[in-house]
Amino acid sequence: MATRNRTILFRKYRDALKSVRIPAGGGSLPSPSSSSSGGGPVIELSTTSLLHPNRAYTPLSTEDPGTSSRGAVTVGLPPAWVDVSEEIAANVQRVRAKMAELAKAHAKALMPSFGDGKEDQRRIESLTQEITDLLRKSEKKLQRLSQGGPSEDSNVRKNVQRSLATDLQSLSVELRKKQSTYLKRLQQQKEGPDGVDLEMNLNGSHSRQFEDDFDDLGFNEHQMARLKKSEAFTAEREREIQQVVESVNELAQIMKDLSVLVIDQGTIVDRIDYNIQNVAASVEEGLKQLQKAERTQKQGGMVMCATVLVIMCFIMLVLLILKTILHI
């Protein structure tokens, strides 16, 4: 893939042409180019006009002399919404880091361990909660991004919004996938001991039928203990599943809101030429609408009606006065 860099040649020409240009424009600019503020150039302009009395007309612009020496168009302060978008981008990074931690915590919790595993559970819960919070906050900030502001900037803002929305959506999807696999594996694991339990229960009930008449009390107690244990297991599992389901629902809500912003790949909306024409078209459309609105306002039927009514009022008033005068 061949390319050719013309920058060096370009700079050479530019410097050459610059040195040709400056002596013609008045070489009295020893000032440091960093003084691009308002006060400096004004003073310099007056000195140039004193030094060149033949020059009848000195343009009074505040940007003239200093600019040719160094790039005086400094990169100005970006508008406020850029800060918001940067915050969201930082949040996205943080979410990514936390997801990596979450993956590790999931793996650790699924490993068979002697302990209760409650700490791992709590850690997973807290991580998931944090991630969901971050995603929700970012999404709210994202909504705020689209409001207000001048029309020129709005396209840039819309595109920034779209790109951040895509990132957020892919992160939500990833989180949900991780959660569902974790949940599935958790169920499998818990079912392991429960399955055995179930089997034993079955056997127990089977043998119970045979020995029912004989050892009622003994089996009942044994059974009660087992029942209580399985109840505890079930309750706990249900609680975990409930939590995961809640976060799944929250994420689903976020995804629904985001999916309006995200571009579908492969469709016409994803084409650059479609978007570029829409920009031009919408600006033109806006102009046309404004003109039409202006015209209708001027032609306003309302305005005419109002004027007619006012005139009629005046006429009636005059008639009334005349009537009273004539009567007197």
């Binding site: 700079r11 999807v173 569902s180 995804m255 016409i268």
Partner: protein, 568 residues
């Protein structure tokens, strides 16, 4: 993948070294080049948050100095003038200029002169100067395409402009592929000779430093041929998916505009047909209409299955799965509607214009012999009221191209009948076509009836019968590619430029058709590339033709020729 990837690589390189928020500024030619290879979502990933035209009305608005401007333009004088004005009053923080072809020294001077604020950080030439429609098919989208039909004396400056654009496009292609080819051209065509010689001059003399690549493999071949060697292919009606859509509705830069052909819901008014992004299209773009119908039906059935299963959501699990798969579901839904809409629309048009009847006669005219039967068939269709004007014109043209020398009386009869039936199209157009692309003007054997071997082959094919009457035509390009593969491309018909000569076996061939390519030909090239012949073919043209565009070019050329001879 070759061409599209080349353009994508260029764009990636443009964007990757510039950090921060960017605005990409294109002109009307480069927007096509970029849009077929790069998507909006990919641009957003590279932090390009706005795309504008260099000449748009909003360019004079307030400054956005937190953005870095990346310009990707063609190096035309208009663009340089626009750049001058914009550099004098800069709106953005930094300016990075990329041109899609070689800048002249004067242009570089003008730019350097206008950069008073020294905001331009780099000026580079990235040679993505062609529209890569398909992996092996590119076009240059030249608007004044009709100029190739006219001799130089008629309008020398427009012709010069045309030739320059073509040579620039070809040069950019070879720079993107990093090759320097040997060049052959079509003997009877002055314009292909001119383009071949100018390309050779550019690559071997003027910019030989730029084109000096390591000779690792055999040098590729550039074959420049003229559309008028095969005027039959653009006139025929097509029955394979991509070619058919272009013929009946029209594809521009892989986009189909359905707004003029009926009422459609908002998201189906303009659709994208790209083999890169649409797997169904990639599998079906070269299939014929009957097979497509079946495949679409299968796709719709699959989709209905999924839609039904999405409707009984009972547990939380199901809900979660639905939300997970929703983006996929939505994309599939969009895709299915798109193809169903297209096929329905095309079926409607086929029905209205009785294209099955018309196309059968067209294929007979293009492929088989029998002047008498042909004359009868054409006369019947001319008398048929439901055949549209443009189809009548095409039939007469095809007849005239084939039986130009046989039975001129009957030809005159057809002309008169055409004139009486369709006053819009003057028979003069048919005669103009014959003057341009008649049997004396063509190189190569369009109908396979000049060479004894070809006549024998045709007879054998006629006896064997053909699989599908509607797709029996093979464009002349197919035979040219066959000859190249066998190493039997005649020097008499396609001479070399200057003192070039072919050494060793060929591995890469670029065929450029001056006047435009058709999707039928790009299909032939793609199918040829799937056979393991050891040669990779790439096809390009100054435009992508369908019968409407070809006829329009003919009419324009005729009008210009008439007005200038009128003046003289």
């Amino acid at each position: 993948m070759v061409l599209v990837n080349a353009v994508r690589d260029y764009i990636n390189r443009i964007l990757q070294d510039i950090s921060g928020m960017k605005i990409l500024i294109l002109d009307s030619a480069t927007v096509s080049i970029v849009s077929v290879a790069y998507s909006q979502s990919e641009l957003l990933q590279k932090e390009v948050f706005l795309v504008e035209f260099v000449d748009s009305i909003s360019m004079s608005k307030e400054p956005m100095s937190h953005l870095k401007a990346v310009y990707f333009l063609r190096p035309t004088s208009e663009n340089i003038q626009l750049m001058r004005r914009q550099l004098a009053k800069p709106r953005f923080g930094e300016y990075h200029l990329f041109f899609s072809n070689m800048l002249k020294d004067t242009q570089l001077h003008i730019l350097a002169d206008s950069d008073e604020h020294e905001i331009v950080r780099q000026v580079q030439e990235f040679f993505a100067d062609f529209v890569a429609l398909d992996p092996f098919h590119f076009t240059l989208n030249i608007a004044s395409n009709q100029m190739y039909m006219l001799p130089a004396v008629v309008d020398p400056s427009s012709l010069l402009h045309f030739c320059e654009r073509v040579v620039d496009g070809i040069a950019a292609l070879f720079l993107a592929l990093k090759r320097r080819p040997i060049i052959r051209y079509s003997r009877t065509s002055d314009i292909s000779k001119r383009i071949a010689q100018e390309a050779a001059k550019l690559m071997y003399q003027q910019e030989s430093g730029l084109f000096d690549f390591r000779r690792t493999e055999v040098t590729p071949l550039l074959l420049v041929i003229d559309r008028r060697d095969d005027p039959v292919t653009p006139l025929l009606n097509q029955w394979t998916y991509q070619a058919m859509v272009h013929e009946l509705i029209g594809i521009q830069d892989n986009k189909v505009d359905l707004r003029n052909t009926g009422k459609f819901p908002k998201d189906q008014q303009e659709v994208v047909l790209s083999s890169e992004q649409d797997a169904f299209f990639k599998a079906n773009m070269y299939e014929n209409f009957g097979d497509i119908g079946m495949n679409i039906k299968r796709m719709v059935d699959d989709f209905q299955q999924i839609a039904k299963s999405n409707q009984n959501i009972q547990t939380v699990d199901d809900m979660a799965k639905f939300v997970d798969n929703y983006p996929q579901y939505r994309k599939m839904h969009g895709n299915v509607s798109k193809h169903v809409t297209l096929v329905t629309e095309m079926s409607k048009i086929v029905e209205e214009r009785k294209l099955m009847l018309v196309s059968e006669v067209e294929q007979e005219l293009a492929c088989n012999g029998g002047q008498g039967a042909a004359f009868e068939a054409v006369t019947n269709l001319l008398n048929n009221d439901s055949v549209s004007d443009i189809d009548r014109l095409r039939l007469v043209m095809l007849y005239a191209l084939r039986y130009e020398k046989e039975s001129p009386v009957q030809l005159m009869q057809l002309f008169n009948k055409l004139a009486s039936r369709s006053p819009k199209y003057k028979p003069g157009l048919v005669q103009f076509l014959l003057k341009q692309a008649g049997v004396d003007k063509r190189t190569g054997d369009l109908y396979g009836n000049r060479d004894l071997l070809n006549i024998a082959r045709n007879m054998a094919r006629g006896l064997k019968g053909v699989e599908n009457v509607y797709t029996q035509h093979q464009p002349l390009l197919f035979h040219i590619m066959e000859s190249i593969t066998k190493g039997r491309l005649r020097d008499v018909d396609y001479p070399f430029v200057g003192n070039h000569f072919q050494q060793g076996r060929l591995q890469e061939v670029v065929i450029f058709i001056v006047g435009g390519t058709t999707y039928e030909e790009s299909r032939a090239v793609a199918l040829q590339n799937t056979t393991n012949s050891g040669i990779r073919f790439i096809l390009g043209g100054s435009a992508v033709l369908n019968s409407k565009r070809f006829l329009k070019d003919l009419e324009e050329a005729q009008r210009i020729a008439r007005t200038t001879t009128g003046l003289v």
